[in-house]
């Protein structure tokens, strides 16, 4: 039992942080969404991420992947969350897996090489078949290159979004996300993977938890920096416990989210019986931490937090999107209570 990162893992983290800072910083996101151009992720940056092997990091080597575990992917996604990097990272990585493990190796190769795959967010009137087919109303996140991932407890699939009817683009609460609404009669997937072969949805919980952890950590650090620098009544505002204690609570929640996310990633990597329980717990912990920390940070920042002057609003919106894409908290909590307890 050891939850410390190894030197190899530290290298993945450092390289990711440096790349994100150079190529996908919030400066660029801001410029793009302020000028009204979408998508916020530049093709060049996305291609560079593919070049680095990000979409194949956890894919087994026999499918052309790098062969790391979900733990390494979780560490990468935490950095993506911390940077608020735009783009369909979660669905692309998972779609590469669905394609490869279901025998669609050519599609897997294409995705790994940089064809982004969006995420299907089911609407209230929808059905997902056992073969991964989809019917009814859906929303599509960042499905700009024509493909989208569908996730359900029993199956994961990839659909061709061009075949969906009534497709229309709507503004997303997070301006760096391309959001479309569509309706399907019954659309068969181009690839699907039953959960009995691999529970892709559990991995999605962990990757989203990782991003939300990164968001919570960013918010914690932004609030602490401001509490140290901002002087009022002749003292840094951080001397006041009304500021200091919420900052401490952010630190605790971020660390809990980080620890639980690693625990869940390893539970899946090691095929523990309680893998789903741990993955859902990670999602719940990280979603709570991200919501609490981003909203608390806005309060700590005062007036500036309410404006576009500071990046805090980006992180609030990003957390809002990511903690809902697999269904909201009531869905996760209800499922968590149905499961057997931890091992």
């Amino acid at each position: 039992m050891d939850l410390l990162t190894s030197p190899d893992q530290d290298e993945i983290i450092a390289a990711a942080a440096s790349f994100l800072n150079d190529k996908m910083s919030t400066d660029q996101s801001r410029l793009q969404f302020e000028s009204g151009t979408t998508p916020a992720v530049s093709n060049a940056a996305w291609a560079a991420a593919a070049e680095l092997g990000w979409f194949a990091l956890g894919l087994p080597e026999q499918f052309g992947g790098v062969g790391f575990g979900l733990a390494e992917e979780a560490l990468l996604f935490r950095e993506i969350g911390r940077a608020a990097a735009p783009g369909p990272f979660v669905s692309t990585v998972l779609a590469a897996r669905v394609a490869a493990l279901s025998g669609a190796q050519d599609l897997a190769d294409e995705i790994v090489a940089g064809r982004g795959v969006g995420l299907t967010v089911p609407g209230s009137l929808h059905a997902i078949g056992e073969d991964g087919s989809i019917a009814g109303e859906v929303q599509l996140l960042d499905a700009t290159s024509g493909l989208a991932l569908v996730l359900s407890p029993s199956v994961a699939s990839i659909i061709d979004v061009e075949s969906l009817g009534d497709r229309s683009r709507v503004p997303c609460v997070d301006p760096t996300v391309d959001l479309q609404r569509a309706t399907a009669n019954t659309l068969s997937p181009i690839a699907h993977l039953p959960a009995s072969t691999e529970a892709v949805e559990h991995r999605a919980h962990v990757l989203i938890a990782s991003m939300l952890t990164g968001i919570a950590e960013w918010a914690r650090d932004a609030a602490a920096t401001h509490a140290i620098d901002r002087v009022q009544f002749g003292k840094p505002i951080g001397v006041n416990q009304a500021i200091k204690h919420p900052c401490a609570d952010m630190a605790v929640q971020a660390q809990l989210a980080y620890a639980q996310t690693l625990f869940a990633a390893l539970a899946i990597d090691e095929a523990r019986e309680d893998a789903e329980f741990q993955a859902l717990s990670a999602h719940v912990a990280a979603a709570g931490a991200a919501e609490f920390s981003t909203s608390t940070t806005i309060q700590v920042l005062g007036g500036m937090g309410f404006t576009h002057e500071h990046d805090a609003h980006l992180y609030v919106k990003r957390a809002e999107v990511w903690r809902r894409t697999l269904g909201g908290m009531p869905t996760h909590l209800a499922r968590l209570l149905e499961l057997s307890g931890p091992v």
Partner: protein, 389 residues
């Protein structure tokens, strides 16, 4: 990075589980203080005889000096016995004993340590005072050197098990003119000394293990001072890192068991509206959230132990764990009352249900004792985030 334990560790877990199953006391722990003392000491003697008396103690002092991972396993298995995470042996084994190992003379060690480990004596702590709680260093209990003795006059408070203790780790002010952290001395006090008056304080759940201790010219040999005169603050702070987060595991595992027990109860019991308790959406949501939060608490325990296994300096996880445990324990045990519902009115209606009332009342102490949650937040804010004092 991995979650799994080595084959050796798994064998160790089997050994521990088998031994605890065969040897842990099964009867209810007595509520009366003297009977409780005898119960706790008998259990310590049983553990010591089998080599389990001090899993974190150095081998030189008769302990097992287990690696942190095996300490974690020991405490996880210990928690399953249902025995209290902290009992009257706690100060001796986890605070005074380790302080003596680090700071006392050879004679003091030889005299006291075998008695603590061997289950012969109970120690209590004489730190807090009516005017020195969170601000411990402002303590006022006065000690004056007279020949080869210290003469102590003053008052301590919140002293658990004082009435059944043999010895006390006592902080006294020996230099009232020095800055407050510099004039304190750490001394071993014989609780049977003339001039000591112990008055029980009844606690919220009705227990009487808590006490005020009054000192009226109590004479303590100077030979009982640990470290140097006026250096007691550094002596008191020297053991903060003992066990490095492993002993806390018992509380965390037992909280997880409580949550699972409440989920089972909520499924099998009917509320006054005729439906299963768990059919109440608000109760169900709180149970599910508690499950997730407790999972994260365990993960943080594992992360803390992983860090401490590689470093002698304990990380901030200690304060974080304590803070989060207190918050969660209070939420879970309040939820317990909502699950037993109207049975929570009676404190002794049914033995099992009254335990939930007891746990709820006891949980109020978790965010006060051993450093309040407010102090933990200050520590995290200042030492982890670097916020100004």
């Amino acid at each position: 990075m991995d979650l799994s334990f080595s084959t050796e560790d798994n064998e160790f877990r089997d050994e521990v589980r088998t031994w605890l199953k065969a040897n842990a006391p099964t009867g209810r722990r007595p509520k009366e203080s003297h009977a409780m003392r005898e119960f706790d000491l008998a259990w310590q003697r049983t553990m010591h005889a089998a080599g389990w008396g001090g899993v974190a103690w150095p081998v030189d002092y008769g302990g097992r000096d287990l690696p942190l991972t095996q300490q974690l396993i020991w405490y996880e298995e210990y928690a399953r016995t249902g025995l209290a995470p902290i009992d009257s042996r706690f100060v001796g084994l986890a605070h005074a004993g380790p302080t003596l190992m680090l700071r006392s003379s050879e004679e003091q060690k030889q005299f006291h340590l075998p008695k603590i480990l061997g289950g012969e004596v109970i120690w209590c702590q004489g730190f807090s005072e009516p005017e020195a709680g969170s601000d411990l260093a402002s303590l006022r209990t006065r000690a004056v050197v007279d020949g080869d003795e210290l003469v102590v006059t003053g008052q301590k408070i919140w002293t658990s098990f004082a009435a059944v203790s043999d010895w006390q780790e006592l902080l006294v002010r020996t230099d009232p003119d020095a800055p407050k952290h510099k004039g304190i001395t750490w001394v071993i006090c014989d609780m049977r000394s003339p001039g000591i008056d112990i008055r029980p304080i009844r606690t919220i759940e009705g227990g009487a293990d808590f006490n005020e201790v009054f000192y009226d010219e109590v004479r303590i040999p100077l030979a009982n001072v640990v470290g140097d005169l006026n250096d007691g603050w550094s002596v008191a702070m020297s053991t903060l890192s003992f066990e490095r987060g492993t002993a806390f595991t018992v509380s965390q595992v037992q909280l997880a068991s409580s949550i699972e027990a409440l989920i089972d109860m909520a499924r099998s019991r009917t509320s006054i509206n005729g439906r299963a308790v768990i059919a109440d959406g608000a109760v169900a949501e709180r149970l599910a959230k508690a499950r997730a939060d407790c999972a994260a608490l365990r993960a943080l325990t594992y992360l803390g132990i992983s860090k401490n296994a590689h470093s002698t300096q304990p990380g901030p996880e200690g304060s974080m764990l304590k803070l989060q445990y207190a918050d969660l324990a209070k939420r879970v045990y309040l939820l317990g009352l909502d699950v037993i519902d109207t049975n929570a009115l009676a404190f002794a209606l049914d033995e099992d249900d009254s335990d939930w009332v007891d746990r709820h009342l006891m949980a109020f102490s978790t965010s006060i004792g051993g450093g309040t949650s407010e102090i933990q937040r200050n520590i995290i804010g200042e030492r982890v985030l670097g916020l100004p004092r």
